[in-house]
């Protein structure tokens, strides 16, 4: 399989640096803005169904590898606090789920050499399977478990909440993720901060 945009050219030096750090902070900033407005526009409280932030998490790790992964678990803590959609202990408990949502798509795109610009059918399949379905299965599974543990939903409602969370977020993350990958990836892959590996 061709490595496509992930291929490191002969003599190409890629080093993690200040610009990656800055991009991680900027990406976190965008995540805070998008996550906050998403939570306020669709106020479902602590339930993250139809939350646009998930698309940011998946796409972030595709573009910026581990840096996107860090941003993926940091920005929801802040955006939840601003929008009042989750208290601090709940936000902290969400971290593993957010981290998973922020790493899986990035790992899959590198592992299977999928193109972030979504040029081939296999790229679409990769994003749909890993960036949307698998990421959200884990995210919604973890999130609904956290809600159950905090008593925020009745234990018997666990599966129903999980299913609603998964479907709502999957639709949102697919639509927004595709838009971002299709329209912004062609620019991002040409920038210095695009990570062919996990950190550079």
């Amino acid at each position: 399989m061709s490595k496509g945009v992930w291929k490191i050219e002969d003599g190409e030096v890629r080093k993690a640096g200040l610009s990656h750090f800055v991009m991680m902070a900027l990406f976190t900033g965008i995540g805070i803005v998008v996550g906050t407005f998403g939570s306020i526009a669709v106020p479902l409280g602590f339930v993250s169904a139809f939350w646009p932030g998930q698309a940011i998490q998946s796409v972030g790790s595709i573009w910026y590898g581990g840096w996107g992964g860090i941003a993926a678990f940091v920005f929801p803590i802040i955006s939840n606090a601003i929008s009042g959609s989750a208290a601090l202990p709940v936000s902290l408990a969400y971290i593993p789920g957010n981290l998973a949502q922020g790493l899986i798509a990035g790992w899959a795109f590198r592992q299977f050499s999928a193109d972030p610009r979504l040029v081939k059918a296999s790229d679409w399949v990769n994003f749909t399977v890993w960036g949307v379905i698998v990421s959200n299965l884990i995210g919604a599974g973890w999130g609904s478990t956290v809600l159950t543990m905090f008593g925020l939903i009745a234990p018997d409602a666990h599966f129903t909440v999980f299913a609603g969370w998964f479907m709502g977020n999957a639709v949102a993350s697919w639509i927004l993720g595709v838009l971002m990958l299709k329209f912004v990836s062609p620019i991002v892959v040409k920038t210095k901060t695009f990570c062919k590996g996990y950190w550079a």
């Binding site: 900027l26 900033g29 939570s39 106020p43 208290a87 009745a154 129903t160 927004l176 620019i187």
Partner: protein, 294 residues
């Protein structure tokens, strides 16, 4: 006479221009937040969490926070409640004695389930208001001072600060995009739900494109200031001007320790004595007595 409460815009909300709470060091305020942000988790009795909530609202008033600014959280307060009560209505819990209050077809309204939903609701609302209180009385700068006082590495606090600064920049950009659309006659409130979602997604593309340009500019700006993202400079500890202006005093340490001790004592009451269990709720006891005809 109504007291005018002047609020100052911050990146993540509004804080009062002047407030008695500012007399406390940001570290002490962070400790208060951490403690108040966890206390309700150890409380099942709704009355105690309601009292806690009243105390937090009292703190809002004492701190001169304009309560009108809290209006934006009201939809969230409502939907959280709706969500909790609906799940406990349709999926009643087995905890406690099942007392059927009402039945409509297959839907059964059990007292124990609704009472537990009430506990959870006031717990989460208390937690949320504790969180809102912190962000309504601390500027971003205060948060950074607090984290640095806890000896968080420069790399982490700088990342947090830059993220918050980026949030401010993108909020301004977002506002500019919205105003440009409004100037061209677009009224978002006229859009359908699906239209709003589609429209929201279209904001992201310019935001990302701007972020790429800004990333380059900020990186170059930081490079030109000789920035090294490290806790050390030339092998020595990085100077910290901000902390030199806001040193942690013995008094601040004493206050923080006292608050933490109070928290531990409070938690112990529940963990070892079950003092705040629902069984000890006077309202719960009274209603149960009533329902059982005792």
């Amino acid at each position: 006479m109504a007291v005018e409460r002047k609020m100052q815009k911050t990146i993540i909300g509004f804080v009062p221009y002047q407030s008695p709470i500012y007399a406390l060091h940001p570290l002490v305020r962070l400790v208060i937040f951490l403690v108040t942000g966890f206390i309700p988790l150890f409380v099942e009795i709704p009355e105690v969490n309601i009292l806690f909530l009243i105390a937090i609202i009292g703190l809002f008033i004492y701190s001169k926070v304009d309560l009108k600014k809290l209006k934006m959280y009201m939809p969230m307060v409502f939907t959280v409640g709706l969500f909790i009560f609906v799940t406990y209505l349709f999926f009643p819990i087995a905890k406690g004695e099942k007392i059927l209050l009402y039945q409509l077809g297959a839907v059964k309204l059990y007292y124990n389930s609704i009472m537990w939903a009430t506990c959870i609701y006031f717990r989460i609302i208390a937690l949320l208001f504790a969180s809102i209180f912190y962000f309504s009385t601390n500027r971003e700068r205060d948060m950074l001072i607090a984290f640095r006082s806890l000896k968080m590495p420069f790399v982490a606090t700088y990342f947090l600060g830059l993220s918050l600064r980026a949030t401010g920049i993108f909020m301004e950009d977002y506002q500019i995009i919205r105003e440009a659309e409004q100037a061209r006659g677009l009224d978002v409130s006229d859009l359908s739900f699906v239209g709003k979602i589609k429209h929201f997604s279209m904001y992201m593309i310019p935001l990302f494109t701007l972020s790429i340009r800004r990333c380059e500019e900020i990186s170059v700006g930081l490079y030109s200031k000789g920035t090294v993202i490290s806790n050390k400079i030339d092998g020595r500890k990085r100077p910290d001007y901000l902390m030199s202006k806001n040193p942690v005093t013995q008094k601040d340490i004493f206050y923080s320790a006292a608050i933490v001790l109070f928290f531990l004592a409070f938690c112990s009451l529940q963990v070892f004595g079950g003092v705040f269990s629902l069984d000890n709720s006077p309202i719960n006891i009274a209603i149960l007595k009533l329902l059982k005809g005792g």
